[in-house]
């Protein structure tokens, strides 16, 4: 078997295995299960504990900007 044929054979094998693996992820909803059980709880915990600016401390400057009245 030539080198090229061997390479082609290997490539087909890799593509096949990758397809089967991805199909397993798809069919058994492994992406959904990972996101629901691991990623989302981790991110929620991260967001819940994040330091946030207290927006209520923002001064409401009524006259900071012009009124933008135009006479078109």
């Amino acid at each position: 078997m030539s080198k090229f044929a061997k390479f082609l054979f290997k490539l087909c094998g890799i593509v096949l295995v990758l397809n089967v693996a991805l199909f397993a992820v798809f069919f058994f909803d492994l992406d959904g299960k990972l996101l629901f059980n691991v990623v989302e709880p981790f991110l929620k915990n991260h967001y819940d504990n994040m330091e946030r600016r207290d927006t209520l401390q923002t001064p409401y400057d009524m006259d900071k900007f012009p009124k933008y009245d135009y006479n078109t």
Binding site: L22, F23, D29, L35, F36, L43, R52, T55, T72
Partner: protein, 535 residues
């Protein structure tokens, strides 16, 4: 074991109805979470289509969109900073699953293209926000920031067409609020609770609450030097705008949406307001109004509208319309509100090909249809895919809905005056305004469209916290009786899934179908299941 039947089920998927052996879609879902024990086996051709052309295709294209529109670094920074993107958009393929459950053949393919369009436009917007956001870039107002215009999500994107060759408009709430509710119904609850925690009452429209809540929680990127806002469809939104003005703290132009839009004098007033808004944008950007660009974009939007009319023609007069109820509703409202963008044209081309094949071959795309349903008023955002469930369980095929029909017009581009007049008309027909709180004449356009689309049943949404629609509940009840129209009500609180749960909505429809219509479910496994924790 019947080998022939097993092989047939393997190749084509199990038949829909219980009488024919039944695919029992309720059995493949896990209790409470709504995750799948395994995704649906739709037969070899449709399962492989779903795997390669929907699941894998969309995952790959989402990554490509992120790389092309702002890059991976901005995306990761955004995910770590903003709850609405990390919590919501990572599980986006489950949004596809819920909306496309049970679909086969052309209906699966056509509806999926609509989802692709929405996903790409969503990525475009949040990636632009992150690329411009001063918070993610050490306080620097970069070039992207200086070329972005912020707006309220119900200000039609067409208002910014004259500058669209140099500037990009990104609504403040469309991605952090509106789309999140459909994809992951939990995220928005943080924002509703946040606004109530500062003392606002809980009974106004929860949409207005949530839109203000993202600002209260400091979860809006600082991505543009100015903002154009409006009073949305109702006056509850005025207080939202006040809070946004306070927290966003930018030069702001408030573009009113008149209530009495049938009055010609009001239209003239609206035209003047739009011109004032354009003057404001000119002042802020330093770039003059570009009429040629405006015409180019309006013509492109007209092309989208003309294809939509072709779709309606097929939906109304044949059984070959390849779009399910949820895809039709969401794609159309997204497209009409956001305005022209190249992905819509790309997806429409794909859908045209599928639709033309269905019409030519007279393919019945929803073969288990028992009733042709028109859905009216504003839908529950956390359960927009109820119509997929209703078709699978009861054969209720939602042909068309109110949100799709709101912006039923093309724009004239022959003169500036005509274009301005049509822009005013479009602007005044704002989402939820024309047919939900736009007066009885417009709410009762239902009867006309019901006939036009050959529907025999109405799904009537009842937004419990919308004071405008609440007042008309009794009038609709009277009309349904007088006209002898079968109608069921779907109460909900727009984004807030805690007020009326998805299970409660299903129970109400089940009750109507069994006690009033005396019908048996097509798929009994979908009658009652617990999806209380699902996205």
């Amino acid at each position: 074991m019947n080998i022939k039947k097993t092989l047939k089920d393997f190749w084509y998927g199990k038949p829909h109805s219980a009488e024919e052996g039944g695919r029992r879609l309720g059995d493949i879902m896990e209790d409470k979470t709504g995750l799948y024990k395994h995704r649906e086996w739709r037969g070899v051709p449709d399962t492989m289509y779903y795997f390669y052309n929907i699941w894998l295709y969309n995952y790959i294209h989402m990554v490509m969109d992120i790389m092309q529109m702002g890059g991976l670094v901005n995306f990761v920074k955004g995910v770590l900073r903003y709850r609405w993107v990390g919590q919501t958009y990572l599980p986006v393929m489950h949004w596809f699953d819920r909306g496309l459950q049970g679909m086969r053949g052309a209906a699966l393919r056509g509806s999926a293209w609509h989802y692709r369009g929405m996903v790409s436009t969503t990525i475009r917007q949040f990636q632009r926000m992150f690329a411009a956001d001063t918070r993610l870039h050490g306080g620097v107002q970069n070039d992207v920031y200086k070329h972005t215009i912020a707006s309220n999500e119900t200000v039609w994107g067409g208002m910014f067409y004259p500058w669209s060759d140099k500037f990009m408009y990104v609504p403040m709430e469309m991605i952090p609020y509106f789309v999140t509710c459909h994809v992951n119904s939990h995220t928005v609850l943080n924002y509703i609770d946040a606004v109530q925690s500062i003392g606002l009452p809980g009974d106004p429209c929860p949409m207005c609450q949530a839109e203000a809540g993202i600002f209260v929680l400091d979860d809006v990127p600082d991505y543009a030097p100015m903002v154009v806002t409006c009073n949305e469809a109702c006056d509850a939104s005025v207080s939202t705008s006040t809070l946004q003005d306070w927290f966003f703290d930018k030069p702001l132009y408030s573009l009113p949406m008149p209530m009495q839009f049938d009055d010609p004098l009001v239209k003239k007033y609206c035209m003047r307001e739009i011109e004032n808004c354009w003057k404001f944008i000119e002042d802020q950007t330093g770039v003059p109004f570009n009429w040629d660009q405006m015409v180019k974009k309006l013509e492109a939007q007209n092309e989208l509208q003309r294809f939509e009319w072709e779709k309606w023609e097929v939906a109304a007069n044949t059984n070959s319309y390849p779009i399910n109820g949820v895809a039709q509703a969401l794609y159309r409202i997204y497209q009409t509100q956001y305005g022209d963008w190249e992905i819509w044209h790309f997806c429409d081309k794909k859908v045209r090909k599928i639709m033309e094949k269905c019409v030519a071959k007279k393919i019945n795309t929803f073969p288990q249809t028992r009733h042709r349903v028109i859905a009216w008023s504003c839908a529950p955002l956390y359960y927009s895919n109820w119509c997929t469930w209703a078709y699978n369980c009861w054969g209720l095929n939602v042909i068309i809905n109110m949100d799709s029909l709101m912006f039923n017009m093309t724009m004239r581009t022959d003169t500036y005056e005509h274009a301005l007049e049509d822009c005013a008309q479009y602007h005044m027909w704002a989402p939820m305004r024309r047919m939900a709180v736009g007066g009885m004449k417009h709410m009762f356009e239902l009867w006309e469209y019901m006939e036009k689309f050959n529907c025999d049943m109405v799904a009537m949404y009842d937004q419990l916290q919308c004071k405008g629609v609440q007042g008309l509940h009794g009038l609709f009840e009277d009309e349904f009786r007088d006209r002898n129209v079968h109608a069921f009500w779907i109460p909900h609180a727009l984004p807030d899934s805690r007020t009326v749960s998805r299970a409660e909505i299903r129970r109400l429809i089940n009750d109507y179908m069994s006690t009033v219509m005396h019908e048996e479910p097509l798929d009994p496994s979908l009658l009652d299941f617990d999806d209380s924790m699902t996205w």
